[in-house]
């Protein structure tokens, strides 16, 4: 039976990409460029965060312009808890995840009463409030932010080494993407996409659309919070700019660039945007110009984002 909504797992390309990612640290070490691992780990974390936003924008039709708030909440949770003597990632990261989820529950409960542009601006407003709140709180370091004493530990695994951190981030991202695929292929995923396409009719078919959207909003917030916790652990410091609207805007750009409503859209967008930045910045201080031109080209010539482009090229004989 034809199933247009089911997201297939294409084992061969998927395994090829995973194999490449697994071999990357070895290549980086062999090439004598170990510092790239920190960058690569950052890309993986942003891939997770952007994917969580893609779940909202691409599959749920919830164009959140405040996703940075959940990232910030997770990051600050780790930064606040560590100096209190909690050093285990087993505690810190779930706490970051929970912080993202709780904040998403509070914000989503209010914002999801609205839709369209109003929803966009409401989510922006709450994220900006969080930004200014953090900025004004001295216990959170105001505009200096907070520094972490060291990287958390993960049981026997010492995350102080960049290679170890990279592999943990990779594992989290892969788990996240698999979970997202499972969610989307499950009945709740169908319902989510039905709401995106025609919310009123879904309501008329018996779906509690508000509750469903809130649930997914909280799931995405949790994933973003976890991403924030990882980011704080990797960087060793957090700052209020994590909450700023420019950060939310950047995440949104990643999703649209990669392909909203494609499973790997968020991850692809994050990887391409950050890698392009890194590459162009090596050659010119005017790298944002290059990024701008790239984005413009994508909008004009690949309306479905990079994932859509890849699929179009791939399906051509």
């Amino acid at each position: 039976m034809r199933d247009t909504l089911r997201i297939p797992l294409r084992p061969r390309p998927a395994l090829a990409v995973v194999a490449m990612l697994v071999l990357l640290p070895i290549a980086a070490l062999a090439a004598g460029q170990p510092f790239y691992l920190v960058f690569a780990a950052r890309v993986l974390i942003y891939a997770l965060i952007a994917s969580s936003l893609n779940l909202l924008i691409g599959y749920g039709g919830m164009v959140s312009f405040g996703h940075a708030a959940f990232v910030g909440a997770g990051a600050y949770t780790v930064a606040v808890l560590m100096p209190m003597g909690i050093g285990s990632a087993w505690l810190l990261w779930p706490a970051a995840l929970l912080a993202g989820a709780l904040l998403a529950l509070a914000i989503g409960a209010i914002c999801l009463r609205t839709s369209g542009v109003t929803f966009i601006m409401m989510t922006l407003a709450f994220a900006q409030m969080a930004y200014y709140l953090v900025l004004s709180l001295q216990v959170l370091g105001s505009d200096d932010g907070l520094a972490l004493p060291k990287r958390p530990s993960l049981g026997v695994l010492d995350l102080g080494g960049d290679t170890a951190f990279y592999y943990v981030a990779l594992a989290v991202l892969l788990a996240g993407l698999l979970a997202m695929r499972a969610l989307l292929n499950a009945p709740i995923g169908r319902a989510l996409q039905g709401i995106r396409d025609n919310e009123t009719r879904m309501e008329a078919l018996g779906f509690a659309t508000y509750r469903l959207k809130l649930l997914v909003f909280v799931i995405a917030g949790a994933a973003a919070g976890l991403g924030g916790g990882l980011l704080a652990s990797l960087n060793g410091l957090v700052g209020p700019n994590l909450f700023n609207w420019t950060e939310s805007g950047l995440l949104m750009v990643m999703v649209i660039l990669g392909g909203a409503g494609r499973l790997i859209g968020g991850a692809l967008g994050a990887a391409v945007l950050l890698a392009a930045e890194e590459l162009i910045a090596e050659h010119t201080i005017h790298w944002p110009l290059g990024i701008g031109v790239l984005l413009l080209a994508i909008v004009l010539f690949a309306p479905q984002g990079l994932a859509g482009l890849a699929r179009r090229v791939g399906s051509d004989p």
Binding site: M1, R2, D3, T4, L5, P187, R190, A191, Q193, G194, D197, N198, T200, R201, M202, E203, A204, L205, G206, F207, A208, T209
Partner: protein, 239 residues
């Protein structure tokens, strides 16, 4: 004794000060097919919006099986067994026909049951079109699917808003046959302009004019009712 499944009393709806529905009362007996007729703008769709929960009334009450549902949301009413179809087709264009129906099955029951969706597909006469994207259907097929979505919820009480609107005669005939087959098994409120279909199908008919019920009764009574004839004279639909 007739048992009222859906009881509507004193329903009133105002839009910007204009009364679209004024003191409408209605009872649907179990298993009956009750037709709601009236000229354009009479308030038929508005009544369906109120009964389904898409709009809230300014006054009046709605009870399903004796339970007050006036303040319940749309999805809660569907879960209680009250579903509707739309006058203006409202589908999921990026889903296949079968996936559309599967959503409807899932919505009311909470379970995604593909077998039941397939059964509904055949029931509504779209058997060969299950794999087509809903957005690619012809108008008549879209109307069939529109009706199918309401049926697939499995609701005991159906509110159908002009299911045959804009259909070619032979397509409309198929819907009439389908509704005839449903008669007695589900309780149906049918809004329809096609008087041949109405008189063929309805057990009882209520006439709505400018937001008021001017007559309600058996088809023969309605056919002879002087006020109904007057209201319809300009339309020339009931000769």
């Amino acid at each position: 004794m007739i048992e009222a499944v859906l009881r509507v009393s004193g329903l009133q709806k105002r839009f910007d000060g204009v009364l679209a529905l004024d003191d409408v009362s209605l009872e649907l007996a179990r298993g009956e097919l009750h037709a709601l007729i009236g000229p354009n703008g009479a308030g038929k769709t508005t009544l369906i919006h109120l009964l389904s929960g898409a709009l809230k009334p300014n006054a009046g009450a709605i009870a399903l099986d004796g339970r007050d549902i006036t303040r319940l949301g749309m999805h809660q009413r569907v879960r209680l067994g009250l579903a509707r179809s739309y006058q203006i087709t409202s589908l999921f264009p990026n889903f296949t026909v079968l996936e559309n129906l599967a959503l409807a099955v899932q919505g009311a029951s909470g379970r995604a049951d593909r077998e039941r969706a397939r059964a509904e597909l055949d029931a509504v006469g779209l058997g060969p079109r299950g794999e087509a994207l809903a957005g690619t259907l012809a108008h008549g097929e879209r109307r069939q699917l529109e009706l199918g979505l309401a049926l697939a919820t499995g609701a005991r009480v159906l509110l159908l808003d002009e299911p045959m609107a804009g259909m070619a005669p032979e397509e409309a005939m198929r819907i009439v046959t389908l509704l005839e087959a449903l008669k007695g098994r589900r309780t149906i409120l049918l809004v329809e302009h096609d008087m041949d279909a109405v008189f063929r199908l309805a057990d009882r008919i209520t006439t709505l004019v400018q937001g008021r019920t001017i007559a309600s009764g058996a088809p023969e009574e309605i056919r002879r009712h002087p006020e109904v004839r007057r209201a319809y004279l300009g339309d020339g639909m009931m000769v």
